[in-house]
């Protein structure tokens, strides 16, 4: 159906140039650095793949990898179903839709470095709303010493911050369903589950794929928000992949941090590739 010729390249050229400048060139620089021992940028020594073997062989890397994976899985398991559920709950009246969406989207507008401060002040035992309420339900005053509690706070914070995005994306897809589909379903006396399963969910596939991609990757590489909650503690239990990299960069370890960046980018590529495969499958299923 699409015209097959290469005029398309002219139209994508500006975008390709911008992303080439701010994406590809820095990426190549990082790949280059990752094979060197660098004290200051002018003097460097070729070390081959030493940094890579060191990182891959370290228990610390795999521990962070495991923590980030667990975190992402929990985040997806909560945010995706919750996002769909909330999107389905949004009222039909035009006036209320706008108001509801605006309130739901508010957390997305808070500067990221302030989000941990907001949650810490919420949990402050003297002035916080939750901090004064929670101890009555057995919330310990020294929750920062507990792995479970720290994780719970970071997960609640991320759910608060990002579920709205899933809601907005899902809602936008739901509005594209023609009213006739619902009427047809009503004539067939379909129950709410059947309406969801056969009418609403298929419309959501494409958007959900993007939502899962964004939420997976952004939570897998959570950086700004996670660290200030408990400084990666207790005992490193909330040290995630990106936090490790950030520490390395702050210490000016050019070589190891570059190698780590390349490893992370390979993870990104694998995820993006899986995403495009999944999208291809969706397209074929739709065409069939």
């Amino acid at each position: 159906m699409k015209n097959r010729d290469n005029t398309g390249w002219i139209f994508v050229l500006p975008a390709t140039l911008v992303l080439g400048l701010i994406g590809l060139i820095p990426l190549i620089t990082v790949i280059n650095y990752s094979f060197f021992e660098i004290f200051i940028l002018d003097t460097r020594f070729w070390v081959g793949t030493d940094w890579y073997t060191e990182i891959i062989g370290s228990g610390r890397f795999w521990a962070s990898f495991g923590r980030s994976t667990l975190f992402s899985v929990l985040i997806l398991a909560i945010q995706i179903p919750l996002g769909i559920a909330i999107a389905l709950c949004i009222p039909r009246e035009k006036f209320w839709v706008g108001i509801t969406l605006a309130f739901i989207a508010l957390p997305l507008l808070v500067p990221w470095n302030m989000i941990p401060s907001l949650w810490l002040s919420l949990l402050n035992p003297d002035t916080g709303i939750l901090g004064r309420l929670f101890p009555q339900f057995g919330w310990p005053a020294d929750w920062k010493l507990s792995v479970v509690h720290t994780w719970a706070v970071i997960i609640a914070m991320d759910v608060w911050h990002w579920t709205s995005l899933v809601v907005i994306l899902c809602y936008s897809a739901l509005t594209t369903i023609p009213a006739a589909h619902y009427q047809a379903a009503a004539i067939d006396s379909a129950g709410p589950w059947q309406v969801f399963r056969f009418i609403q969910l298929p419309k959501l596939y494409n958007v959900l794929l993007m939502a899962i991609l964004l939420r997976f990757m952004d939570s897998f590489m959570i950086y700004t928000e996670a660290f200030p909650i408990n400084a990666g503690g207790p005992n490193g239990a909330t040290m995630f992949l990106a936090v490790d990299l950030g520490e390395e960069i702050k210490a000016f370890n050019y070589g190891p941090s570059a190698a780590r960046s390349v490893i992370y980018f390979l993870i990104v590529l694998t995820v993006a590739w899986t995403f495009s495969k999944a999208q291809g499958r969706l397209d074929r299923a739709e065409a069939a």
Binding site: D5, A15, G98, A102, A105, G246
Partner: protein, 269 residues
């Protein structure tokens, strides 16, 4: 079948309301503290109601310029992103060219690349270009994640416009760029507004690039807040600045709410 249906629709309202309450709770907390004196001064006691935190924003020249910097770099970002994204979105939506799928994949890969991975080389690149410590540098760096997502949103809008429109325009002798400018842009105006809003949203709150690209000058609002943390942090002032930083976005959000609610077709390449 009637029973679970009723049960479900009764559940909807409380679920939605409790989610909104959850979304607002930290913001309520923030607003409460922003009206509270949190450092002892001769005039006020800690914990009393005060407007002085907000007055503090107005009197601090660093905070005022931070607001201007933030608005400036977000506008620069939108002005780069949208004109570059529209033709690209058009190409992905309507044209087929060698490597289109792979190119889209590469764009998406840059969107999901964590900024911290590229901080160091972007800092070096931008210093050699002479655009560190300037709002232009941040605006450009944020294209890394805003450009791919804008292309994705816009091509959904473009795919939703009927293809006959293109063909009629071409029969009338318009070229593709003319068609995009004269016919397509008015058609997807609300799409462009939604995209610009998303750019604003992701750019305004970002801190990793904003931090490394502004060591001496051009500090945006998020970094100005960071600078308030110190030996004796006035958390009331911090919260007041945060409230103020959310307000422009909230105003835009309420202005945009009907565009957001009209919904948009988000498709695929």
């Amino acid at each position: 079948m009637k029973r679970p249906l009723k049960y479900l629709s009764v559940m909807k309202r409380p679920l939605l309301l409790s989610f909104i309450a959850f979304a607002c709770l930290p913001l309520i907390q923030m607003t409460l503290i922003s009206f509270m004196a949190t450092l002892p001064t001769p005039a006020t006691e800690v914990g009393t109601f005060t407007f002085s935190n907000y007055a503090g924003i107005w009197t601090d020249p660093n905070l005022r310029s931070a607001f201007i910097n933030s608005i400036a770099y977000v506008l620069i970002n939108i002005m780069i992103t949208i004109p570059v994204a529209i033709p690209a979105a058009y190409a992905f939506s309507r044209l087929s060219f060698v490597g289109d799928k792979h190119l889209f994949l590469a764009f998406i890969a840059f969107r999901i690349t964590p900024p911290v991975v590229l901080t160091l080389p972007i800092f070096q690149l931008f210093s050699s270009l002479g655009i560190v410590n300037s709002v232009f540098g941040i605006g450009l760096a944020h294209c890394l994640f805003n450009l791919p997502i804008s292309i994705w949103i816009l091509q959904g809008f473009i795919s939703a416009t009927p293809k006959e429109m293109d063909e009629t325009a071409f029969l009338d002798g318009y070229s593709r760029p003319q068609f995009i400018w004269k016919f397509l842009m008015p058609q997807i105006a609300s799409g462009i507004a939604v995209t610009a809003f998303f750019c604003f949203m992701f750019s305004w709150v970002e801190v990793v690039f904003a931090r490394i690209l502004t060591t001496t000058n051009g500090k945006p609002i998020s970094m100005a807040i960071n600078a308030l943390f110190g030996f004796q942090t006035d958390i009331g002032l911090v919260m007041a600045v945060t409230v103020a930083s959310v307000l422009p976005g909230a105003a835009l959000l309420f202005a945009m709410r009907n565009h957001l609610s009209r919904g948009f077709k988000i498709g695929h390449v």
